[in-house]
């Protein structure tokens, strides 16, 4: 009965590789988000989608590309991974601008 799920939970890869993280929510929400949490535990928004439309696109390298095939899914594809991309990535969802519910996170380690 997981509300917001992400796969994989851990991702270890080498510099230069391309990887994807998947997110699904079963809450019936219309808005989904990607956040990055750095080593200091600071959470910062990267993207948001409302009804499959990209709304927020913060200052994120264009190596990061979100894709929303439907309102329940939001994936994050990362090209040419760099050491600085190592972090925990969280997916979240909400009904409009109400409280957001977060997934368990994906810990990405780039070596």
């Amino acid at each position: 009965d997981t509300a917001v799920s992400q796969t994989p939970k851990y991702l270890v890869t080498q510099m230069g590789n391309d990887k994807s993280i998947k997110c699904e929510q079963n809450l019936g929400h219309d808005t989904m988000y990607w956040y990055k949490q750095d080593s200091k535990k600071f959470l910062k928004i990267m993207f948001s989608y409302n009804n499959k439309e990209l709304i927020i696109n913060e200052t994120v390298p264009n190596r990061f590309s979100p894709k929303s095939p439907d309102k329940a899914h939001l994936n994050l594809h990362i090209n040419s991974l760099e050491l600085g991309d190592s972090a925990v990535y969280f997916c979240a969802s909400s009904r409009g601008r109400d409280e957001q519910y977060f997934g368990p996170g994906t810990r990405l380690t780039v070596t």
């Binding site: 959470l43 409302n50 927020i56 409009g96 601008r97 409280e99 977060f102 996170g105």
Partner: protein, 115 residues
């Protein structure tokens, strides 16, 4: 740009020792202030939303309050299971359009409750 500052960065309490966490914010109008709890290795868990000054919300040993400049999370008679990082976040009315739903988070307060 919205800013959120939480204090203290870390707080150690003995079981049963009540205390408060602070969240100071600067926004061009406040639409909502959110409190989350985050356990190690997990995603933030929603606790409360506060919308206007004077509003208060309670859940078990936690009580959140809001003024025009800050919010407090009061913890009454804490237990070891209350140990976690507590995050505060804000969203403003201006967070519409290309900032729709944008939450600005503070850096969090790490709470440790010793038995």
């Amino acid at each position: 740009e919205d800013q959120v500052t939480q204090s203290p960065e870390a707080l150690r309490l003995q079981e049963g020792e009540s205390s408060s966490l602070n969240c100071s914010y600067t926004v061009s109008g406040l639409r909502g202030l959110f409190w989350y709890r985050q356990d190690p290795g997990k995603g933030p868990e929603f606790l409360f939303t506060l919308y206007s000054a004077g509003e208060e919300k309670e859940k078990e040993r936690l009580k959140a309050t809001l003024t025009k400049k800050e919010s407090f999370l009061h913890i009454t008679a804490p237990k070891p299971e209350d140990s976690a990082t507590y995050l505060c976040a804000v969203t403003s009315p201006n967070a519409g359009g290309t900032s729709y739903g944008k939450l600005t988070f503070g850096q969090g307060t790490i709470l440790t409750v010793h038995p």
